[in-house]
Symmetry: C2
Subunit: 223 residues, 2 copies
């Protein structure tokens, strides 16, 4: 147990966060774990990119930051290396926060029903890369974000929570991205909390959440 | 000009509504046209089904109700018959309100950028039949409705407005349908009004709307 866990007299669930980029979602999780009584702590941050700013955020927070390169390895070797680092740090849940590599069954079977991703669209609309740009180009009036369990498809796993926001006619793709990030930063730490509290249960395609009193699976951001 | 138009000193745009079923969206339009100053009136209601309750709603409102059967005709003959009835009644805009037949270029070219559909999902998610059931089975937390221009694809045309609502874990497919109907009944008459007021302009995949002051392309229904 850590000092904080001893102080609070109960265990805190260790999670791993995988990032490829600047890690603003990682930061939202780190900020949440600073709150008194938050039921999870980040045990390790991993990136496939050495220069990902997410690794720097981890270091600044005093959290192990590990670069696991994907270049020069086949997919199995890459995923085996990821699993090894996560297990070494005792990770119970894995959160993908802007992690840009597809994961296969090799990785997922090491953490069955314990890998969660956040995607910047209202899935099943706009899966895959550049979801915000896809939404902007399509001309939708409403888009959003989805927190979902990861399966072997591209953004196809069971959905935990979604948030929606208007897309304004004056928005460019960057403004859409900014608005959706606000949803992401609110929704992801909430799901981390639910996961650590044992509130999530995957049943087929559906996720049963024992919601805390007054909490919701959905979020609407008006403008 | 009708008596009402003369009374109000300006023209009211004649629209046609196509239905296949009970016509609750037609009813929402009929109710809106009863409001003083509403800029459109329903000139004719057409159904491909003789027993569609939508036709009865039209008759009760004193509006021409025409059955155009699709059976025993090829698609071109069916659409030619639809166009003839609509033109005979001087229709300027066509609204599909639960009309379950795909329309081809033959029909659409008779009313270029003047055919609008309402679909019970946040397109491009869940196009085609039984969108509410598709959304329920997928396990989304948020679904909605889309009002869009009709093109030759299935629910692929440029989007005018969208409304969203939470899908609750306790919902069955019927409850999802009921919640989405509330969005439809609010959104569709609003778009009829915008169309009649000349506020809609299709530019490629996007729809430019000169929104009335304080109005919005989006709607969120909370529970």
């Amino acid at each position: 147990m850590t000092d904080r866990e001893e102080r609070e007299g109960r265990s805190v669930v260790p999670i791993g966060v995988l990032v490829s980029g600047s890690g603003t979602n990682l930061q939202a999780i780190l900020d949440a774990t600073e709150e008194s009584g938050f039921p999870a702590s980040v045990a390790v941050v991993i990136s496939n990119r050495r220069d990902a700013f997410g690794l720097e955020r981890a270091r600044r927070a005093g959290i192990p930051a590990v670069w696991v390169p994907h270049r020069g390895k086949d997919r199995a070797a890459f995923e085996t290396a990821l699993v090894a680092v996560l297990q070494e740090h005792g990770v119970e849940w894995v959160f993908l926060a802007g992690f840009m590599r597809i994961l296969t069954g090799l990785f997922l079977n090491a953490f069955p029903d314990r890998v969660i991703n956040i995607h910047p669209a209202l899935l099943p609309a706009f899966p895959g890369v550049n979801a915000q740009g896809q939404a902007h180009d399509y001309g939708v009036r409403i888009s959003g974000v989805t927190v979902h369990f990861v399966d072997e498809g591209t953004d196809t796993g069971p959905i935990v929570a979604q948030g929606a926001a208007p897309i304004l006619p004056t928005d460019d793709a960057t403004q859409v991205q900014q608005r959706l990030l606000r949803l992401e930063h609110e929704l992801l730490p909430k799901v981390v909390k639910w996961a650590a509290e044992g509130r999530l249960n995957v049943i087929g395609r559906k996720v049963e959440v024992r919601l805390p009193e007054g909490d919701s699976h959905t979020l609407w951001l008006d403008g």
